[in-house]
């Protein structure tokens, strides 16, 4: 690995070949830029993500205790978590939790809700159509597009395997 070799600023300043200079500079910058603590980030994400999931489990059990079936209770839970996420986004609280939790708030359904609600709040000023309408999925759009696309691909594979009697 060439990355393990220390790159000195001298190899940037005194390099005549622009391409090599840029390569050296990029490596040098990597050396002097402070890195985030991955272990700490993972622990924080694990704890907060776990808390969100525990809250979700609480809702599922609660709705079941009210008489809902398992599927219905799961759906109610998703609706509840999405609602809470949107509410906290609107109140400006979700971003503060996410700053601490990182992927812990990004991965659960609450993260998806936040990524839709935040542009809606931001672009409301640009109108219902060109603001909210066009820009609400600026962040969530790729998730929706590629989510649907990959489920279509998987469906197609499943269909073919079924014809071939593999599954």
């Amino acid at each position: 690995m060439s990355n393990q070799k220390k790159v000195s600023p001298s190899s940037v300043v005194h390099e005549q070949d622009i391409r090599k200079r840029n390569e050296n500079y990029s490596k040098y910058v990597e050396q002097v830029t402070p890195k985030t603590n991955i272990v700490m980030n993972v622990i924080k994400a694990f704890i907060v993500g776990g808390i969100i999931c525990t809250i979700g489990q609480f809702f599922i059990s609660y709705y079941q205790s009210l008489g809902a079936g398992e599927e219905a209770a799961k759906a109610y839970n998703s609706i509840t978590l999405v609602f809470l996420s949107v509410l906290l986004t609107g109140l400006g609280i979700y971003q503060k939790i996410a700053k601490f939790a990182g992927a812990g708030t990004l991965v659960p359904i609450t993260g998806f809700a936040n990524s839709v609600a935040a542009p809606a709040v931001e672009y409301k000023k640009e109108g219902q159509v060109f603001g909210i309408g066009c820009k609400i999925f600026t962040i969530a759009g790729p998730v929706i597009l590629y989510g649907i696309f990959s489920s279509w691909v998987l469906g197609l594979i499943y269909y073919i395997l079924k014809i071939l009697k593999v599954v």
Partner: protein, 349 residues
């Protein structure tokens, strides 16, 4: 005549003025977070409301720019009709903060886009206009707003993401100066006069980085090239300046700049200062690498640097705001981040 023109040009890309134009006044309008920072007590006005009573972030930025323009006129004891040209810009597409903000002032205008280097560019062009005899007074102005910049360049404010340590925090603020022909300037005997002795106009410098979350590293080579060219062009050593003041390199960029210059046997480790580092307290204010944005260097200059020069703490400084000239489109298309730095020699006489 030709000879006289030639005498102003120094070296490759610098100018030393025949009649160094005077900075008669500077204004600084800052946001709440900037007001809570280490320089908070120095700003003319602190806007507690990020919306400044307006409907949108963009309108709010225009409003603080208008305040900066009004304030600098008031401090200089001048009217808008006394200003020949206004030279300025901001970070937003098509310079909407500037054009909407200054519309009511009715001053002939040059709009500039130099990203965060805009204050340096505006002061350079302003002083060229004045020393060239094309204007008696020019207003140089710029602004940035945390929320409008985040919206344009990054994510909606309420989106839950984490910023890396190398990321900077866009300053909400607007600064303006009035540059006046030295020959019509009425000297205030109590304090030194602040003049723009010369400028070094920056080139586009691109060392191939693509990380828009590490602007300091992207821009440091531009500052490196402009500072070393300035010293070479006017044939001086770094100690010629009491301070060499970059705009918004932040901690990462400062480290790199000092490193790179050392390779050219230029040591600025003792007299370098970065506005982005000065404006926030990174531990208390959670601003990571420091402040950034056009407003960062502008209000640090007008509130802090000008004060130090007026009080005689510093005699001569090199003010070098740096700008990263990327756009959302260039970033998404995987292009590198081209940068620029303009140097302005400011002296107290």
């Amino acid at each position: 005549m030709a000879e006289e023109m030639k005498s102003k040009m120094m070296g490759k890309q610098s100018i030393l003025f025949s009649n160094p134009p005077v900075i008669v006044a500077g204004s600084s309008i800052a946001g709440k977070k900037e007001g809570e920072g280490p320089l908070g007590h120095l700003f003319d006005t602190i806007q507690e409301d990020p919306m400044v009573g307006k409907e949108t972030w963009e309108e709010a930025e225009s409003e603080i720019m208008k305040e900066a323009a009004t304030k600098v006129l008031e401090k200089a004891g001048l009217k808008n009709t006394d200003i020949r040209y206004l030279v300025g810009g901001d970070l937003l597409g098509q310079l909407i903060a500037t054009y909407f903000g200054i519309a009511d002032l009715n001053i002939p205008t040059f709009g500039l886009y130099g990203a965060c280097s805009t204050m340096g560019e505006a002061m350079a062009i302003g002083s060229i206009l004045v020393d060239g005899g094309f204007a008696d007074r020019v207003m140089a102005i710029t602004s940035s707003h945390f929320a409008s910049a985040e919206k344009q360049f990054r994510f909606p404010l309420d989106y839950g993401n984490q910023r890396p340590f190398s990321a900077t925090w866009t300053v909400t603020g607007s600064g303006a100066v009035i540059i006046e022909d030295a020959r019509i300037h009425k000297k205030n005997s109590n304090e030194p006069t602040i003049v723009i002795k010369g400028v070094t106009v920056g080139k586009i410098v691109d060392y191939g980085l693509k990380d828009s979350m590490n602007m300091g590293a992207c821009m440091a080579p531009a500052a490196f090239e402009t500072i070393s060219t300035n010293l070479e062009d006017i044939n001086v050593t770094p100690d010629y300046y009491d301070k060499i003041i970059t705009g918004d390199l932040g901690y990462v960029g400062q480290h790199i700049l000092i490193d790179l210059l050392k390779e050219k046997n230029i040591d600025i480790s003792q007299n370098h200062m970065d506005c982005g580092i000065e404006i926030f307290d990174k531990d208390k204010q959670d601003t990571h690498a420091g402040g950034s944005g056009c407003g960062c260097s502008a209000i640090t200059f007008t509130a802090y640097v000008m004060k130090q020069l007026k009080e005689g703490q510093w005699k001569r400084v090199l003010f070098v705001p740096t700008g990263a000239l990327l756009s959302q489109v260039s970033f998404n298309e995987g292009r590198t981040v081209p940068c620029i730095a303009h140097a302005v020699i400011v002296e107290a006489i």
